[in-house]
Symmetry: D2
Subunit: 347 residues, 4 copies
Amino acid sequence: MLSPIELRSDNAAGAAPEILAAVNAANVGSALAYGADEWTARLHDIVRDVFEHPRARVFPVVSGTAANSLALAAMSPPWGAVLCHESAHILRSECGATSMFSGGGVMRGLAGENHKVTVEAVRAAFDDTRWGDNHHSQPSVLSLTVPTDHGTTYTSAQIAALSSAAKERGLRVHVDGARVANAIAAEGCTPAEMTWRAGVDVFSLGALKNGALSTDAIVCFDEAVADELHYRIKRAGHVASKMRFQSVQLQAYLTDGLWLRNASVANAAMSRFAAGLRQLDIELVSAPEVNMAWARIDGDACRRMEDAGLLFYRMGGNDVRFVTSFQTTLEEIDEALERISKALVAA
Amino acid sequence: MLSPIELRSDNAAGAAPEILAAVNAANVGSALAYGADEWTARLHDIVRDVFEHPRARVFPVVSGTAANSLALAAMSPPWGAVLCHESAHILRSECGATSMFSGGGVMRGLAGENHKVTVEAVRAAFDDTRWGDNHHSQPSVLSLTVPTDHGTTYTSAQIAALSSAAKERGLRVHVDGARVANAIAAEGCTPAEMTWRAGVDVFSLGALKNGALSTDAIVCFDEAVADELHYRIKRAGHVASKMRFQSVQLQAYLTDGLWLRNASVANAAMSRFAAGLRQLDIELVSAPEVNMAWARIDGDACRRMEDAGLLFYRMGGNDVRFVTSFQTTLEEIDEALERISKALVAA
Amino acid sequence: MLSPIELRSDNAAGAAPEILAAVNAANVGSALAYGADEWTARLHDIVRDVFEHPRARVFPVVSGTAANSLALAAMSPPWGAVLCHESAHILRSECGATSMFSGGGVMRGLAGENHKVTVEAVRAAFDDTRWGDNHHSQPSVLSLTVPTDHGTTYTSAQIAALSSAAKERGLRVHVDGARVANAIAAEGCTPAEMTWRAGVDVFSLGALKNGALSTDAIVCFDEAVADELHYRIKRAGHVASKMRFQSVQLQAYLTDGLWLRNASVANAAMSRFAAGLRQLDIELVSAPEVNMAWARIDGDACRRMEDAGLLFYRMGGNDVRFVTSFQTTLEEIDEALERISKALVAA
Amino acid sequence: MLSPIELRSDNAAGAAPEILAAVNAANVGSALAYGADEWTARLHDIVRDVFEHPRARVFPVVSGTAANSLALAAMSPPWGAVLCHESAHILRSECGATSMFSGGGVMRGLAGENHKVTVEAVRAAFDDTRWGDNHHSQPSVLSLTVPTDHGTTYTSAQIAALSSAAKERGLRVHVDGARVANAIAAEGCTPAEMTWRAGVDVFSLGALKNGALSTDAIVCFDEAVADELHYRIKRAGHVASKMRFQSVQLQAYLTDGLWLRNASVANAAMSRFAAGLRQLDIELVSAPEVNMAWARIDGDACRRMEDAGLLFYRMGGNDVRFVTSFQTTLEEIDEALERISKALVAA
């Protein structure tokens, strides 16, 4: 039996050693609960420094679903509509969390190639809206998944153009950044360039898929939203009592570029993997721009790949998904390609 | 300057070394997210074993507020009323979390000595209810804080009597067990005796105040409620992606009696401390039955105690609160009493 | 068998002939739905005129519960607390409507003689609040029931003093005015004096108990709240499609002082009735200041009164409630007193 | 100037004289509030009789939005998904009411010709669902708009087939029957055949567009849902205090077939109108099966039609909508066609 190679999800990876070490180091003495500790205070400074924004505020929460849905609920009135791509995670995979926390807000899924929202789609949604008519939920937030759940991503310039279009009608801009480090690393821009400088008001800072143990975060550049989140997060049960152990993870994550380094490792592994798939004449559904690829492989070959110890997801039909993480090695990639190559040939 | 002695809250304590070690040990290999990992599977077995209940289900969540409010929302219809003591944490310190998650459920605070609900108070509330009249929220859950936020607690027999009264009218019974280990340790009963054998349907298993890093849990003996929680927890953002690191904490916590040992340490420290306070003729507001004492000390003495490095909370008027934790040593207790003794004498 | 005399509730009265006539008259031609009709436009003018406020906005809704809960939800954030008397209708008799519509807001009942909130109670509630602490719902609205559900009422000056205290901490002021016409008529003040001139931001304008057929209304002097209500009312299903038939009722109600005339009839009937009860040495629980009295009459006498055709409510113990309406005649009052007089004497 | 002819909406019609007469007649004596009156009791009997169902329960509410959203909230858990056509009124024109009342339920719009859901679309939605996976809202209700907002309708047999498909996976079946009388009249079936005999569990009984003054209703054949509605309707503020005036409208509506007669008048007017439009070579978007037509007419002609006193809605592009009501006369239809005929010819 061949050893398994993990390509199902970056969520299946463990914790980064730097982050685990930081957690261990924080277990000294007593510290007040609920964020009134020095680790959390320092985290705010680090976030402001890394994002070059003097009033940024950060709220550690335990999952990306919490980060997205609580942020959106604070950004949008109960009668608001969140515009997003029709394949967005917030629309399809969070069991109505945003509708619940917002008191009945809705999501309007927009079509768009490569799973990306376009300026044209936003404008068309605006044209299709009866503004001010109380029979209709009112567009209030544009939410972009950066990168998308399908391995494509937005550039900073694209985000800026979309923000600009959204703000023509007074919408706020949200980014579901469950893997935002991968997008920043892929573009090579600064964290500020991809976020507030591109018009983003609030974003979910994913950390769990990229080395953290038990926390993601909301980063907020809009003070009115932050003031709401102060209460919303507590009453949703997302203010950790031992916050220091959450904050210290994010500290380590953002310090010395660990988050972007880890993301680069995952991106590089996928880049090599995608090149290998192409050489094997495997069709890629879209160009993998970060650490994820969707490909088309027939069921028989899939079964042989599974038999050969490859861990990946079948997504319906012949679609399969491969994801690399900060723990994926180039040796694993080469070995995976080798096994796939063999599996493509019927026994 | 004297070294500080932590008596503000057990929430200020760090993580138990056994739990931190377990987290470190779980950082091996890849594991599927959202609870589909072997640590979480094993946790279910451990819970069933420790609580002697073959169908118990456990849901790790990140805070006691999450545990309480999600459990209560699953136990009660939107038009339900949760009966609890008027000083209950769920009523006074969770910012309406239960009302939010339940879709507008309400809480009815009952009076009762020593911050405890009595059978008579439950019966009086029933008599005061217009059952079936849709102008009035309908009592649906009795929630007990075990132990109370004031250092008193319920015995298993008292819980059983209250459950029995509640069930006469079809209510479910919930325990806010943020410190339930301290109550079990104080009574010396089995975990089953204080929970389902006493009629408890669902309870919040506190772990954070007693050694855990980042998780409490809901333990559920009622399958209909558990089936609801499956969805409610996800859409509240409380399904950790790297669940293994949450589950493994609870594993360590419940294994070999660590939770009860830690609670006993805290209880014993408080017991010695309370005896010392009495010797100093300090009035105790109620008999400290677990790891917390409320006492009456005038403001001048309080200031001198603070100057002497004692960390504790002033609760308004002359009320002060002292809490011990699993990290409190008997040496610290003796030293604290020594300092208090001096502080009681005006300079 | 004696003919019944209705003293259970003003809710049991029929529609005022002037209002029914107006409804009949409005059944001419076609009119756009949802408020885009001329009757609704005129209603706004009438409200502005009657209340002497150029920007007042009015929202017809189908019940007092709708008026109260939707207004409060628009006035308060989800983490807000509505301060009210512990006997307030919004707290005890609306099945959690405000908590539902506000997304989990809570109500804090304050004690106070004669079922009235006092400035001292408001200040004490403020002192007892941890402002800005996200563990605690934040006082956001003071709601006064004018008159109370127990037949007492507030003067304009009392409302002004309470508003002033509430606004020291930034709260909005709401009046549950299910019977506000009776309070205005009793004091003889102007509608403006009892509402916005006394610091009231939004109030429920009761009409159903005083002659309307199928509508109460929210009257709003705060434009931010009104802008919210525009959407909240629709999504709660309270925008009548044939709004003209609702608006025209309120038109007739407010025109030529019908509402105050009707209220005066009810008040005068109660005044005579209360005087009669006192002459019969019946204890009144509090002085009936509008159209309702609570009295203490033993069970045997009550039974004889019921046998004599008197319709009234027993409220527990020896408490009974009598309510007069705009349809109550002085002859009925005299006849009722006559029958009570006889019933007090055991057979 | 020509007299206006109303073809915008059946919502713009007035009240049926029979219904208004019944309201006037009910204004006798006193009657207990909130449904404890004899008119409401009789309404239950009438509904059970008309729908041939001994346990049917009826809840008068003030609007179709209230009827739909409260029913759906009672039929579906908070994590449920309501399947409906992508053009459904509940999805597009109720400002998120169902999501609010259900605590964050979502709607999944299905494609389908003539604005109708098909069995194939329902089955495809089922195949596309990850049943039991808590990341995804779970299909819980199939809601059909009968007739659709575009003038097409379902037959009883089609509803039965859809119900049957829905129930294979345990969904409940709801009908938005804002104009259900028109559908029943068009098919000539019995009310039972189109509702519970076709598998419908709960439906919105539209009355307002077809002659009522201030009430629609929910009719419920599922007792568990009815027991929930008892509370949900109250806390949504939809229990009218003077319920008798609402119930009596529905009594008159359902008595002696008034509802079906009125609907037939509207249907017949549209039938003649549609025939006339076809003769004028105007393209109909779909075959008008009840009292509504969507047609394509260019902007210049529309302007001339408006100038000629025709009242109708432009729906974007060249789409226009015509609706007839129980008040529309055949003379008006002929006159309208005459004016359209002239307007089609440029000046």
